[in-house]
């Protein structure tokens, strides 16, 4: 297996990947809140 090294530059694929997500907000994939502090 290849070495866990030489990661690609952060963010170079973000726009392309987020373009395909059904719901996006402020540069993130948007999902419903999972943890409710009051329960």
């Amino acid at each position: 297996m290849r070495e866990d090294a030489e990661p690609h530059e952060t963010g170079i694929y973000t726009k392309e990947l987020l373009n395909e997500a059904p719901s996006v907000k402020d540069g993130y994939i948007e999902v419903k809140k999972i943890i409710d502090q009051n329960t």
């Binding site: 395909e20 059904p22 994939i29 999902v31």
Partner: protein
């Protein structure tokens, strides 16, 4: 331009000799696609085919062309082409565009291949008839009331109806070879690891391989040689140093007749006739036994759903494709997956999840993986005394659309093809004639399996089978 008898080699010579251009060749295929639209083989015909062909013509004019330059390809809807729609014939990937090229696509692009469109398939490659597509059934051009096989049914039909010169499909349990057999064309499943799976939507990761569907063995060999090779993006791809061309003579063909119970009598007759003719060409036909191959289908339908259930967890309505909103994130997952996946996909996910669950994992999955090694040992033992192993590609010719509504009866179609995926060995289906049904001639395929990385052995015998036809 004799499009019905065209091969890559002939197209190459004509393109290089300026008999016609890549644009003219692509246009000829476009008109065939239009003529055969009713077969439902394409999910999308690309709108920039002419531009691709113009680029290919420029490469040819510069003298830098390689063998696939200007050659019209159809691509199964589970192999990513950057920027283009892709969906594995499933609603759950509605609206999704590929964000990168599969390695095989990058290789063909580099050579100037022309992509005509993406082909219809069983949803997520689950099926043996292309009746499980979310976008309608595909029809067999030899008898439009019958299936083309699956899951690469659309791909096989594009080649059989001369609506593409070559197609790339994927083969997890026979999904290139079986439709090739049903449609009268050639299909190759390479050695596991010979061709990169990077950019192939995963079905069964220990079983999947991308393979060519072509009109001739020679074309299959050309495409295989162009798409094979180690890939840094696929850690299961084999080192290039292992791709050593087999220089040995192919003399002995092994046949395990104990596996042929229940095979259609006309298919069996065609198989035996082909063997007899091969014997007259100097091959020795050797009876062999593959004791554990009887259990191959059972093993396959334990291992495959298990891998499916894991591979398809990523389709959750969050990162790509269809999103159906519920009250909670959990509801979003359930609603998106219930609406997005068809019945066969849901069936196999449920089965696979059960197989991998606590209390059943060892009884089913671990046992099946152990038994898988026994089948590989059977084949290795047989290859000590023979060079290739022959079977019919399928136990029957193409069946009627709707005939096999019971999923288990559908699974039985894979009985001869799954062993190559379980063992990782390469296998080739070559057209070997026809059987008659309802006054129509239906193609049948002759399947060869060879030891790992001996695709050349397959091609050698394949050429001789072609010569018989």
């Amino acid at each position: 331009m004799d499009i019905e008898n065209l091969t890559i080699k002939q197209a190459r010579a004509s393109l290089d000799g300026k008999e016609y251009s890549a644009v003219e060749l692509a246009e000829a295929y476009l008109s065939r696609i239009e003529k055969h639209k009713h077969l439902n083989m394409y999910l999308e015909v690309f709108d920039d085919i002419k531009e691709q062909a113009i680029r290919a013509d420029a490469m040819i004019a510069s003298g830098n062309q390689r063998v696939l330059c200007g050659i019209p390809f159809s691509i199964k809807d589970n192999i990513l082409i950057k920027g283009r729609r892709i969906g594995a014939a499933s609603k759950i990937l509605d609206g999704y565009h590929a964000t990168y090229d599969a390695t095989v696509i990058a290789k063909i692009k580099e050579e100037g291949g022309v992509f005509l469109g993406r082909t219809n398939m069983d949803e997520f490659a689950m099926g043996s008839s292309t009746e499980n597509s979310a976008y309608g059934v595909v029809k067999n051009p030899h008898d439009e009331s019958r299936v083309p096989g699956g899951s690469s049914g659309g791909s096989a039909v594009t080649v059989a109806s001369h609506s593409a010169l070559v197609s790339l499909g994927s083969d997890t349990g026979g999904s290139v070879r079986q439709p090739a057999g049903f449609c009268g064309v050639v299909g190759l499943k390479p050695t596991y690891g010979a061709v990169s799976r990077f950019g192939l939507i995963a079905l069964g990761s220990s079983l999947d391989q991308i393979g060519p569907i072509t009109k001739s063995v020679g074309d299959a060999e050309i495409v295989f040689n162009s798409i094979k090779g180690n890939d840094v993006h696929d850690s299961t791809s084999l080192p290039d140093s292992l791709h050593v061309e087999n220089k040995g003579e192919v003399k002995r063909i092994g046949v395990a007749r104990s596996l042929f119970e229940g095979v259609d009598k006309d298919v069996l007759l065609n198989f035996e006739d082909t063997l007899t003719t091969l014997a007259t060409k100097g091959y020795e036909i050797v009876d062999i036994e593959l004791p554990y191959a009887t259990y191959a289908l059972a093993m396959y339908y334990v291992i495959l759903p298990a891998e499916i259930s894991t591979n398809l967890t990523r389709f959750d309505g969050v990162r790509y494709g269809l999103h159906v909103s519920g009250k909670s994130t959990g509801d979003d997952y359930s609603l998106s997956r219930s609406e997005g996946f068809g019945p066969e996909v849901r069936r196999r996910i449920l089965l696979g999840t059960h197989i991998l669950s606590a209390g059943y994992y060892d009884a089913y999955y671990t046992k099946a993986q152990s038994a898988r090694q026994l089948i590989t040992n059977d084949f290795r033992e047989a290859f000590k005394s023979v060079d290739v192993i022959a079977t019919p590609t399928s136990p029957t010719p193409a069946f009627k659309i709707g005939e096999r509504a019971d999923p288990v009866s559908m699974y039985l179609a894979d009985i001869f093809t799954v062993t190559a995926n379980l063992t990782g060995m390469p296998a080739l289906s070559v057209p070997s004639g026809f059987v008659e049904r309802d006054g129509k001639k239906l193609p049948v395929g002759f399947q060869l399996t060879a030891p790992h990385l001996q695709e050349k052995t397959l091609f050698t015998v394949g050429y001789d089978i072609e010569a018989i036809q």
